[in-house]
Amino acid sequence: MNSATARLAEQFDDVSQQREASTLGMWIFLATEVLFFGVLFAGYAYGHLLHGAAFAEAGRETDLVLGTIETSVLLTSSCLVALAVRAVQLGRQRGAAVLLLCTAALGTAFLVLHGFEYAHEYKEGLVPGLHWTQVGPSAPYKQLFYFLYFSITGFHSLHVSIGVVVLCVMAWRTMHGHFGPSWHTPLELSALYWHLVDLVWIFVFPLLYLLGRHG
């Protein structure tokens, strides 16, 4: 099942070229993802530049403890998926499948924690458009912060959800012997996608959760 030559599509000269094309395609997709989130971060930079004080005030109201736990969960999950690729390369399919399922479980834990965070913010009246109870001169700019907060973390969570599904499919395929040391390109590409989810969060955490903490 995991024969590399059996997987060779006719448009490629050899497996090496096929793998290079697949990886290149994935990285180009990841570059577009960087720009997708980049637009939201550019909006953040604009808001922070014009309304820094209100943004700092709003940033203080995010849940730092949950945010830190979520960051730890995603960093650990990135390590686990890297170890899963390593395990497949070493011919340890069962171990790789377990690692992939653990990664998916951490991704699910991240989503559940985020759900608690959103519920708390709803109660506090921090959700623009749905339940916004903030008043005062800085309230409109805090609303801008929370609009960006929900856009960025919402799209990020959507990516996490897709990642969890992809990881489960990869775990199932690894379990059933679809991948081995000689061929595991889909697993590698899925791992790259999961690392991107982690990369985005690495920037989300300081910008949304650590803002204005010293004030």
């Binding site: 995991n2 024969s3 590399a4 030559t5 059996a6 050899d14 497996v15 090496s16 793998r19 290079e20 990886t23 290149l24 990285w27 990841l30 570059a31 577009t32 960087v34 720009l35 980049g38 637009v39 971060f41 550019a42 930079a45 604009y46 922070h48 530049l49 014009l50 730092l64 830190t68 730890s72 960093l75 650990t76 990135s78 390590c79 890297a82 170890l83 690729v85 390593r86 390369q89 011919g91 399919q93 081995g180 040391p181 000689s182 061929w183 590698e188 791992a191 790259l192 690392h195 982690d198 990369l199 690495i202 920037f203 300081p206 910008l207 650590l210 803002l211 903490r213 010293h214 004030g215």
Partner: protein, 112 residues
């Protein structure tokens, strides 16, 4: 470029991309990521003015580089991938710098 496969031998072929990472290396990167996470939280509580944002972003860039270079294997995979990855971030910088350049130079017009 022989692709004899199908049996789960740990030996690799030339066409497999980068060789397997080392367990110690992957765990070491995770430890470094956690150290940087602690550092960025600690920095956030020290009043440094604009330094807070600079420290936050510098630490985030360091963490992102660790993930990309080691976990995403940019260090050992094809050089072309490093160019593509760098291109994505280069355009991101263009996007943010030109947006801010516009905003910064417009504020005096608004207030005058």
């Amino acid at each position: 470029m022989s692709n004899v496969a199908g049996h789960d031998q740990p030996q690799r072929h030339d066409d497999d991309g980068p060789p397997p990472s080392s367990l110690g290396g992957d765990l070491g990167v995770l430890a470094a990521l956690f150290v940087l996470l602690a550092a960025t939280i600690a920095c956030a509580f020290i009043p440094m003015g604009v330094g807070n944002m600079i420290a936050s972003l510098a630490i985030a860039v360091a963490k992102a580089l660790l993930v990309m270079v080691f976990y995403m294997r940019l260090k050992r995979d094809a050089p072309l991938l490093r160019i593509v990855a760098a291109t994505g971030f280069a355009f991101l910088i263009v996007l943010i710098v030109f947006t801010l350049a516009d905003v910064i130079t417009r504020i005096p017009l608004l207030t005058s």
